[in-house]
Symmetry: C2
Subunit: 639 residues, 2 copies
């Protein structure tokens, strides 16, 4: 029993072609092949080992990250990796580092906001990493006008930053603009005169974001050359004259759509990792229910486990597909912007804001739920789940606090409704609002549990619920003489309406995905099961919404729940194969509980002995503190 594949019997149960599902998950054969090759490259290189991360002190941890970043860059050069491959390599190294900000924020900011000249000057330096940059926007106290606080890569490494600051010329405040500022000497790395810079201290979790030098920055009479203001959109002349070019300011929304789309894609990665760990370990772990002295029941066979785990498995797939669609949306918006067509921008903006909020919140909660689903052992760092949670949760706060974003969505929904009267047709994900009259009075005609498997039935229920909640908000808002006051007072209801709308988007994009041609034996069927689990799980969780708006009856809610249970049974034999389809290496997963071969307990036992506390049998501190206690000698002990 020691060697071999302990989950082989589970893999045999699968009713679909796992290899074909891997392609679907990756998005294309090409994407699969790149991911597969690069993830194995990283996994097989001991220089990228990460299992010791939780045990390292902050300094050791950080130094080790610098080594990995340099080594990764060296390998990228040596292997002549393409941009796509290099980015995948950084992804599979799976350790937040200053390079994330250099490539993900500093470079794009210069590309997006710099003039041609500025780009020609700075981009080559940045591409070769002759300078290292970060993105300094967030401040310590919002509006306290004090220090930059949080920017990753700022604390100890970046030589340069794009700094956001007020532009004042001739005593006039032109608002916040971006500037390229050199922070440190390129000779000896010491901060330049007038610049105070440092790390802001430890953050949540073991390893996790403590590999990143999130920083604090203060300026004291720092001067920079005029041409280091990023001047694509606004300019200051040599004479101090301020002017604006005719580049559309809406471009900045295009960038937001891009960034949030990557966050949704990241959510599906993080959630699928957690789900992969919890699913595999639920098949390994046995508890209670032994009959006639036989083995105990696999935890994954309990309905309570299934009803918590399988909706998360379905969510991982749902977020994957909505992320894929958002990639398309970004391309579409970009093409329109280039053609000066701003018509779909507000809808795209609201949609990405809402999906960012929904997917990150569900993923953060889902990772912690997966940790709990692993029982006590999920609390060990060697389970991988504590670090995954700690490294993931900032996604709920950065790039727009999740609640603030939902209020933006709600504002857009109310506006969309108010414009219906004037004949303005809602577009994209709000198109269903055009049928608001129908949706306000339609009746769900589910009569037996299986009726809930029909995509049209599900869609109409979700559309009706969302429309009715938005309409109720709009009606209640109209009772206030001061609209902003009403908006503040009813913000709780507005958030709920926005959630209903965004859930509809995810459900409908999953259904659209299933309408595509998906090759591979049984693949589409399994995705259909997951899609229905996702939708009916949401329907059950939010049945208060569906019932209070009269979209469905209590009896229909009951039938949905009955159908959901049947779907869990259908998913059960495929569960292990469905997480195998993520194609994660044991290195990337970083979890003993989730290891591919399921040989969990011997590995846990071995790993324990690597803890620094086990360096000696008698622990450091025994002689000073424990011995005097046992020998009643505390009075004279130096403590």
């Amino acid at each position: 029993m020691e060697g071999g594949d302990h989950l082989a019997h589970e893999r045999k149960k699968a009713q679909f072609d796992v290899e074909a599902m891997k392609i679907v998950w990756a998005g294309s054969r090409h994407a699969f092949e790149v991911s597969d090759r690069i993830s194995k490259l990283v996994a097989s290189d001991p220089a990228f080992r990460k299992d010791n991360r939780p045990m390292l002190s902050r300094k050791e941890l950080f130094k080790n990250t610098l080594r990995k970043a340099a080594y990764a860059w060296k390998r990228i050069i040596e292997l002549r990796l393409s941009e796509e491959e290099a980015s995948k390599l950084r992804f599979y190294v799976d350790e937040p580092a200053f390079t994330d900000l250099h490539w993900g924020m500093f470079l794009p900011a210069i590309k997006g906001q710099g003039t041609e000249e500025q780009q020609q000057k700075w981009l080559p330096l940045a591409y070769k990493m002759q300078i290292i940059g970060c993105y300094a926007q967030t401040e310590l106290g919002h509006g306290s006008n004090s220090s930059k606080w949080w920017p990753g890569g700022l604390g100890k490494i970046s030589t340069h930053a794009v700094v956001y600051a007020r532009l004042i010329t001739d005593g006039q405040d032109h608002g916040v603009h971006g500037f390229i500022v050199q922070l440190r000497s390129l000779d000896d790395h010491s901060p330049l005169p007038g610049i105070t810079v440092g790390d802001i201290g430890m953050k949540f979790g073991n390893g996790a974001y403590n590999t990143m030098d999130n920083g604090v920055l203060r300026f004291d009479h720092v001067r920079i050359p005029r041409d280091q203001m990023l001047m694509k959109v606004s300019q200051v002349s040599r004479e101090g004259k301020y002017s604006q070019s005719n580049v559309p300011r809406q471009l900045v929304y295009g960038t937001m759509v891009f960034v949030r789309q990557t966050i949704v894609a990241d959510a599906s990665c993080a959630l699928s990792r957690a789900v992969c760990i919890a699913t595999r370990y639920s098949a390994v772990r046995r508890q209670f229910g032994s009959q006639n002295g036989g083995p105990e029941t696999q935890v994954i066979d309990y309905k309570t486990q299934q009803s918590r785990l399988f909706p998360l498995l379905a969510s991982a797939y749902a977020f994957r597909f909505v992320g894929e669609w958002l990639k398309w949306l970004y391309t579409d918006v970009t093409q329109r912007l280039q053609a000066n067509d701003f018509s779909t921008l507000p809808e795209a903006h609201a949609c990405t804001a809402g999906l960012k909020s929904l997917t990150t919140a569900a993923t953060a909660d889902g990772i912690e739920e997966c940790r709990k689903l692993c029982g006590g052992h999920g609390y060990l760092c060697s389970s991988g789940l504590p670090e995954l949670f700690a490294v993931y949760v900032p996604a709920c706060t950065y790039e727009g606090d999740n609640t603030v974003l939902l209020l933006q969505v709600a504002r857009f929904l109310v506006k969309t409704l108010s414009q219906l009267g004037s004949g303005k047709q809602p577009v994209g994900t709000t198109a269903y609002m055009g049928q608001v009259e129908h949706l306000m009075q339609c009746h769900c005609n589910v009569q037996k549990a299986e009726d809930w498997l029909k995509p049209a039935v599900i869609l109409e229920a979700f559309e009706a619920r969302s429309a009715r909640m938005s309409v109720a908000c709009a009606k209640n808002l109209s009772k206030f003489t001061n609209p902003e006051e009403g908006f503040a007072e009813l913000s709780g209801d507005l958030v709920e309406a926005a959630i209903a709308h965004c859930q509809l988007i995810i459900v409908s994009k999953f259904i659209e995905k299933l309408q595509q041609d998906i090759p591979g034996k049984g693949v589409k069927q399994q995705l259909g099961v997951l899609c229905n689990i996702y939708a009916l799980f949401l329907l059950h969780k939010h049945q208060g919404d569906f019932l209070s708006t009269g979209c469905i009856t209590p009896k229909q809610a009951y039938l949905a729940n009955e159908q959901l249970r049947a779907l869990y049974s259908q998913a059960r034999p495929n569960a292990i194969a469905l997480v195998d389809a993520f194609n994660y290496t044991d290195h990337y997963l970083g979890s003993i509980l989730g290891c591919y071969d399921g040989n969990v307990y011997p590995k846990l036992y071995e790993a324990a002995w690597k803890d620094p506390l086990n360096d000696s049998v008698v622990p450091d501190g025994y002689r000073e503190y424990i011995w005097p206690m046992l020998k009643q000698q505390l009075r004279t002990a130096r403590l």
Copy 2:
């Protein structure tokens, strides 16, 4: 603005006597005075400093815990503290340590399961800490019969353990029994022959439970004297004969009631700490909404913030009072047991199991919600919230997995219903089931929002919802020929019914508390507001239950939500005073965001510079890894 009390204006708004509320929170004047004195004693002693915990390596952290434990014990002896005071001192030191298991599990196990003789031999040694003990029950793989795994204090410190193992005499297996086993030499602390013992490795979070040596233990032909089997309940004679005394086995349930009651009390402590931090920082933090260049809006004034924060504030109070009641219940059960009255035991057992589950789950989620409510800064260890979360979450898993416990409650509810026919009257928290016929057909007569403030209306709605959900489960179960199969299939519904029942208990105990005489200006009024917030928040969150069972109408659900918003406005001016009433020192809170004086930003800025990464301006690793990167010298660098 730098010094002074930045929250003074908030404290002035309070409409009740904070000092009187402190007594209510503490439970009695005596309890308040002990807590107040001991917490200040700990806070003022630099030896108990804990702000550096997240930065220490595992070994440093653990050694420091040993020092604190020895020092605390020294102070307890020097100051001749009573048992109550000593236990408070350990509580306010606020660092998990081997002493928790020594006092909380090892000693009680000997007291509860040892004979008079055994107690006389072992207790004096343990009371003086001449031996240090732990409680070795949990194993690595459930049923894998391999290693003890998890026991706190086992890994590096305990000299003895109560070990649970199968008793086999004359080839007959008598099941699991407890044995006192010496693990380590009292001379040099080395493990005794045949014993393999060590730490199981890093756990979730910075500091947190990494101060504890959760351990692994294996025996290889270890013999112990016969008289180290704990023999109060069963005995083995010198001749190897197994027998049982007439001590009732139900006593073990009494112990479970005790342990779970302390867990509920701990939940209110942990949640109130998080709420105190989030509430104070929500009053300090300002964001958006500046009018005419004035200051921005305090975050606590946003309804979205209130609707997430105030229910948690109300929950902290609710859990406090239900915990207080559980203390009474334990006393009551103990007295009955001593009089051989086992009639209330099943109900008390179900009730504590359910409340343990509900309060720990809500507290774990609540702490993380409070962290998110602090925005980005909640992610810093100096906010105190990451460590509080990481140190708290095991409560959801230990002493009974929360889902397993809820299934036990559900089983009890179904049984209670089934016995109604035979005329058996339900007792205690299930007494309402006696009115099941009324509850199945009653109608809520709320017509305007304020009707929801009536305790009788709230109680009936919660009773009806719980009764109807249990009855529905019972009906559906009866459709299965094999009851256990039905129980497994419907476990999701059963869990929901159990939650409904437990929420009713908490709501009803809060209402009962308000029927007592509570002195102090405005104190009872404020508690009334919190009680209503707690109940109506639950009603809104679970409105699907209330609507699907027909307990309330959609209109009434809407009115409840309206009333809830009004209650938030009433709670707002009292929020800071309501968390001041917890009487937590800044030391105990361990949070810059939650500091009493609200002077958050300068303190955050100062704290940042204490991070080890800021020991040097140029970080360790720059020369080896960053310089070669910037200078394009990676090819020859040693990485």
